[in-house]
Subunit: 221 residues, 2 copies
Amino acid sequence: MRALAVEDDPRIAADVAAALAGAGFTTQTCGDGEEAWFLGDTEDFDLIVLDLGLPGMDGLSVLKRWRAGGCETPVLVLTARGAWQERVEGIEAGADDYLPKPFRMEELVARARALVRRAAGRGGAVQEAGALSLDTNRMTASVRGVPVPLTALEYRLLAYLVLNRDRVIAPTELLEHLYGDDDAREANALEAVVARLRRKLGAGIIGTRRGFGYFIEEAGA
Amino acid sequence: MRALAVEDDPRIAADVAAALAGAGFTTQTCGDGEEAWFLGDTEDFDLIVLDLGLPGMDGLSVLKRWRAGGCETPVLVLTARGAWQERVEGIEAGADDYLPKPFRMEELVARARALVRRAAGRGGAVQEAGALSLDTNRMTASVRGVPVPLTALEYRLLAYLVLNRDRVIAPTELLEHLYGDDDAREANALEAVVARLRRKLGAGIIGTRRGFGYFIEEAGA
DNA sequence: CAGCCACTGTCAGCTTGCTGTCAGCCACGC
DNA sequence: GCGTGGCTGACAGCAAGCTGACAGTGGCTG
């Protein structure tokens, strides 16, 4: 597994490289936008971790050029704390996930793993998980063939759970994914969304592990 | 710590073995590709130092076969000076680090240590320890293949023991890990958690050394 | 611009089951 | 045999999570 870490702060770059190495990646670091573009375009990485604030060339531009050039490597974008707009722009430019700084290394590794796994196995637009199927193009869900209308927020939550269906997602991670950590919602907001989702989807789809978080139930259909 | 040095020049092989011995490794040497493949596949080393220029079977082929066979031992590749291509090929074949010849022995030892340290910390998603296996994604444990439901606290305790399976953990350290040292629980709280864990996991998983602390039993199943 | 409607955060009260405490027991080590 | 450190079963307190109601907000329509 080869990873590229694009990050201008050498200390953070080293930390990221070390963490990824621990997860089995051979990591190359790069602190300059132009060089990053070149590397991502010519070499074959399994994952790219991209900081948006860069000298040489802006991270967003680099990302857009990669995508324009047909590069499909999963990209995990690091955004500054509270830069909500950066996150949206990042997704629109083709990022696969984002992580607000500061972050814990375990978090980075977990997301990196998820991205690689996702890229490897399931490229398909429609994701199946037990009785649930999710059409990521139409942004719709259906249970046992019956379509279920979802709101934007509900869909984003469900999609995140499905894409990371092989692990338990902590409420904090979900909150951070749905809203920025800058924008502090009460934890209860999440519970409310989950409750509404459960009511729509029926039982046996979203499970809870007390003290850990939420997950998609696959086994007991 | 066991190391395997694959090197056809007997003088260099002896030097490498001596240097590694100084770093605490028990080193076995081997000058032939076929034999190296067999050894790496059947024995359990903590580190392999591999010279690419070999009689019998090419070093790269040996490495690829190891990786294809599921061997995850960290491999440090020795490449000829300036052979840039060899380095790339080596990494792609699954090498964890490379060292261009000629090198200073201190350099070799430093890299060897780093590799081993990295490998030790590398968290595959599932950790095995004797009859116990721990899925760090799903936050679940299973004993001899039978899944065991754990609460958050039980899981955290067990995970800490498994990650530090090579030593005995003092109760104070565990208390500090589970709760903050600011938050003072009675020592008995820990014993209660251990008791509950033992009941769920069965005997022979968590051991006690009176006066020292707890540890994961690996040998006696 | 006003009115409507769907969406979503907040709140209060409730349920559930985790977890610390306690008292008594066991067993190891001297 | 005795003392101490560790183990265990019972139990109550408490916090995590669930739910139904409600209100604020923003977008859409007439």
